[in-house]
């Protein structure tokens, strides 16, 4: 007796399914699967992403991780992905992560030099990490952090395809800062965390 209803639903099945918004899909797909993202991205970003694909095959595991950090940074600059919570108030940003992560990230604001503009969830390697977003004269800095064992280590600079990366460990957390900002200014940012 429900045949006609089942048939009606079957007929309209595709219209009734909610398609996933492209911005959300982009957030979840791993960095290497980017053909659809490339279509939406600017030419410059496309060139960069293609660059990673080529570089990946030659780098070791450590280089692979750095590439992933840079790829995540680049994806964050694409539409709709920079931040999930937009706020310069660390008392808003920090609680936002509660319940979304299995740790409480260290959230700081360094306005007016490096104002905090928001945060989002991101994935590096196989884990969920906190991403804090800072601005500096129009440049974006992504700071990734997650709990990590091991001794504290001071900020160390790496450069990859025009991006500067500083990584350090402190108080049981691993931190990675990435930006196209010059090394001196990014180092200044990293020092503020020490």
């Amino acid at each position: 007796m429900h045949d006609d209803l089942a048939e009606l639903l079957r007929e309209h099945r595709q219209e009734l399914r909610h398609p996933m918004p492209p911005g959300l899909r982009r957030k979840f797909l791993p960095p290497r699967r980017v053909p659809w993202a490339m279509a939406a991205a600017s030419a410059a970003a496309v060139a960069l992403v293609v660059g990673f694909g080529v570089g990946r095959t030659t780098g070791g595991a450590a280089a692979g991780f750095e590439q992933e950090v840079v790829a995540s940074h680049v994806r964050s600059l694409m539409a709709e992905h920079l931040q999930d919570v937009a706020s310069s108030d660390r008392h808003t940003v920090k609680p936002w992560f509660e319940g979304r992560l299995d740790f409480a990230p260290d959230v700081r604001d360094f306005a007016p030099d490096f104002p905090l503009v928001g945060g989002r969830l991101d994935y590096l390697g196989t884990r969920a990490v906190a991403a804090l977003v800072y601005k500096r004269n129009g440049h974006v800095i992504n700071l990734f952090e997650w709990p990590a064992d091991g001794v504290a280590s001071p900020p160390r600079l790496r450069t990859l395809r025009g991006y500067q990366l500083f990584s350090w460990r402190k108080d049981g957390f691993a931190f990675w800062a990435v930006s196209d900002l010059n090394a001196a200014e990014l180092q200044q940012f990293a020092q503020l965390w020490q």
């Binding site: 007796m1 429900h2 006609d4 209803l5 089942a6 009606l8 639903l9 079957r10 309209h12 099945r13 219209e15 009734l16 399914r17 909610h18 398609p19 996933m20 918004p21 959300l24 899909r25 957030k27 979840f28 797909l29 791993p30 999930d84 319940g99 979304r100 992560l101 299995d102 969830l121 994935y123 196989t126 884990r127 969920a128």
Partner: protein, 166 residues
Amino acid sequence: MSFRRDVLPHLDAAYNLARWLAGNDADADDVLQDAMLRAHRFPRDGGDAPRAWFLRIVRNAAFALLRTRRGFEEVSDDEPSLEPDAAMRLVAAADAAQLRDGIDALAPHFREMVVLRELEELSYEEIAQVAQVPIGTVMSRLHRARALLKKNLLRQERSEHARRSR
């Protein structure tokens, strides 16, 4: 178990379920993000097929959100099943928009049955794994869900009639 292999092929089904249950884009976004994190944290142990495993996580994340909303009610599976109304013929002309409204008007426990069965085309067994209820309960909920959906469609048609004849 590979997270990417287990989860990524089912993102579309997961979003559809999250969106139908949450009722709006922003909450569906939150539900899916929650589900992704939980899936990361508690990888599949090999017991279930990836789709049922991941949809269960999505479904539980959605219900966790729904339970915080005012007026949410758990379903009672003890109620006598609705006898089909003799006069309850289906409007064969119901279009997608009317069906959408009709499904939206169902209580979440019934809405999930319709979405999983009719839109995602899961088997009864898979639905039982997703909703964590016995197969018999899936069948009775689905039966009630279809009867309620028909009622909703009929009600819509009547009010449409009334509006037109005014």
